[in-house]
Symmetry: C2
Subunit: 140 residues, 2 copies
Amino acid sequence: MNLTLFTDYALRVLIYAANQPAGKLVQVDEIARVYGISRNHLTKAVHRLGQVGYLETVRGRGGGMRLAMPASDIRIGDVVRAMEDDFAVVGCFANDQCVLLPACRLRRALGEAVDAFLDTLNQYTLADIATSAASVFRAT
Amino acid sequence: MNLTLFTDYALRVLIYAANQPAGKLVQVDEIARVYGISRNHLTKAVHRLGQVGYLETVRGRGGGMRLAMPASDIRIGDVVRAMEDDFAVVGCFANDQCVLLPACRLRRALGEAVDAFLDTLNQYTLADIATSAASVFRAT
């Protein structure tokens, strides 16, 4: 059971952005360097975070990204829901033609379980998560 | 966000076995045919279900498998926990050397969210899930 690398990277971008002085723009290269991860993958995550309104991006020389809203307004479950394309959990949610589908109670149980997963994450905001990382970024 | 095909198939095997008359042995071929899925994948799931005590398997001619305990004693969250090798959720749980690791609160939040996911599934037993499938198996 896991989230996509895409969601993982999106969360790391937000944590990094939340640890910057208010309004400061940061670059993908900087985030890739700090975490030691692929710039290409990060770029896609940043693009999606911009589309869904968590990041504000400024193009061109001197450009970069910053949070588009206070970290305390960004709930982690909402971020995960926005980043994960696929909450299919098991095959029948997607394109599998499971014979059980018309009568399956497992599907309902799994749907409730996903909601519980996201509700639990929504008890945390980006501000809750990001503050613990401050000491790490100061050291890099 | 999804479970492995392995877990998916294990759940289908248990649902099928729970719909058999008490004590009746069923074969992997039969289950593969009913669901229209790979015999090889099913065999691996059946093997694990036997190892962890949910299925009793009888070898040889006339052999097969059956539930090793009442369906009402098998909790779905426990099955998922037993079948999923990897509750890594994001890379840092596995072998990724995320720079945040020493101070990361996200990791704790995700751990709590996985627990909420499994706790919700544990509100359902195999008996709850399997009865809804009875009409489907009668029709095949």
